[in-house]
């Protein structure tokens, strides 16, 4: 690879300065152009700018912390290899996110694993905690509570179709916008909205069914106690 030219260093140092969105876009295009010409530092700067979102995207789909970094590295490697073919008129972030989604699906297909599998049912104690999360005004603050909340929500997410799960996690947990999801998944914005809305319904249907099963069990236990 060629040595880093002085211009790139100047460009990279300018990144920290507050820039308007348009100027940032222009600067990013310049970085991509330099990376296309083989400038290593320019690509490193692109990695620095997008690593957070790519981690969120891959983490949102795989939801296995131990696999995320490997897949993210693979994403950036693929991006580096094929950056010469990238059309500068398109958004670099969308292109990178598409590579990320494809890489995740490839990874899941090759490994033949589902993103996360919870075979066991929730205990009654866990069900009541889940109920507490749904009815609470604010999300839990303590680290332990949040870790448990993640486990309970993961159990519920496991019960809905993969596409719904991906949309909900990326939108509500990882903070992607509807427009971003539409660009990444190649869907119409309204289609994403409808799918999201239905996915929410499915998720809460899982919750409701689990709650009703618990109350049925309690009712039958109370009936047996009376007898």
């Amino acid at each position: 690879m060629p040595n880093v030219p002085k211009g790139v260093a100047a460009s990279a140092s300018a990144i920290s300065a507050p820039l308007s969105r348009r100027a940032k876009g222009e600067e990013e295009r310049e970085l991509v152009r330099m990376a296309q010409n083989g400038t290593e530092a320019a690509f490193e700067e692109l990695v620095r700018r997008h690593q957070q979102r790519v981690f969120a995207l891959v983490g949102g789909i795989l939801r296995r912390r131990e696999d995320v970094e490997d897949v993210v590295q693979q994403v950036f490697l693929k991006a580096f290899v094929s950056i010469k073919r990238f059309d500068l008129r398109a958004a670099f972030s969308t292109w990178l996110y598409k590579i990320s989604v494809n890489e995740c699906w490839d990874y899941l297909r090759k490994k033949k694993v589902r993103p996360l599998v919870y075979e066991a049912d929730l205990s009654e104690e866990q069900v009541s905690r889940l109920d507490g999360i749904v009815t609470a005004d604010r999300p839990p603050v303590a680290a332990d509570d949040r870790a448990e909340a993640r486990q309970l929500v993961d159990w519920m997410l496991e019960k809905i179709p993969e596409q719904d799960r991906e949309l909900l996690v990326l939108k509500e947990i990882e903070g992607f916008s509807v427009q971003e999801l539409a660009d990444i998944l190649g869907l119409n914005v309204n289609t994403v909205k409808v799918r999201l809305f239905r996915a929410r319904g499915r998720l809460m249907d899982v919750y409701r069914r689990r709650m009703s099963r618990g109350s049925l069990r309690n009712a039958s236990a109370a009936g047996e106690g009376k007898e």
Binding site: M1, E40, F43, E44, E45, V47, R48, Q51, Q52, F55, A56, V58, G59, G60, R63, R65, V68, E69, V72, Q73, F76, L77, F80, I133, V134, A136, P139, P140, R146, A149, R150, V153, D154, M156, K159, I160, P161, L168, V169, E172, I173, E174, G175, V178, N190, K193, V194, L196, F197, R198, R200, G201, R202, L203, M204, D205, V206, Y207, R209
Partner: protein, 172 residues
């Protein structure tokens, strides 16, 4: 897909789902907002679906996002790319002589094939000129005893000529 997924039916009116998602995100304003609010007041199905959707937002907000990258990730990535490019370059240099040999072989084979085809074409031309001109000059009725059967191709004409001539020889 398990049993739960199969049985689920949204209670929301399909034509309002997009607006309900916008309403949930607080992205509706003006006429659309008024229209959706009025509909929610009158439609129990949409109202119930919206309550569920709001609960899903609360539920999912309890979960923290995926782990953030380490501060040195970009540098690690650059090192990995460099190592990968070096490996690819080394791999390429190992196979380079074989690739070169392969191209040379392909070029030689193409040349040999071209020569063979040219030779075949000239040979055919050299062997057949008399016969071809005879076929071109002769009228079908002169060549065959039965003028009703006109040959469809040159090969068929030649075959018929051979048959005719053998008949002639037998008659003589």
């Amino acid at each position: 897909m398990n049993e739960m997924e199969k049985e689920f039916r949204s209670t929301a009116c399909p034509e309002f789902e997009v607006f309900l998602e916008d309403h949930l995100a607080g992205n509706l304003a003006g006429e659309d907002a008024a229209k959706v609010s009025a509909h929610i007041q009158s439609c129990a199905g949409c109202r119930s679906a919206l309550v569920d959707a709001a609960a899903s937002v609360r539920l999912l907000s309890a979960v923290e996002p995926a782990a953030a990258p380490d501060p040195g990730f970009a540098r690690v990535m650059t090192a990995r790319i460099r190592a990968e490019m070096d490996r690819l370059a080394a791999e390429k240099s190992i196979w380079q002589p074989f690739v070169f040999l392969g191209w040379r072989f392909a070029a030689t084979a193409t040349l040999a094939l071209a020569l063979l085809l040219t030779y075949n074409a000239t040979l055919e031309y050299r062997l057949q000129p008399g016969l071809a001109s005879a076929v071109r000059q002769a009228e079908p009725r002169d060549m065959f005893s039965d003028p009703g059967t006109t040959p469809e191709s040159r090969d068929q004409a030649l075959m018929m000529m051979v048959v005719e001539s053998s008949h002639g020889t037998h008659q003589d």
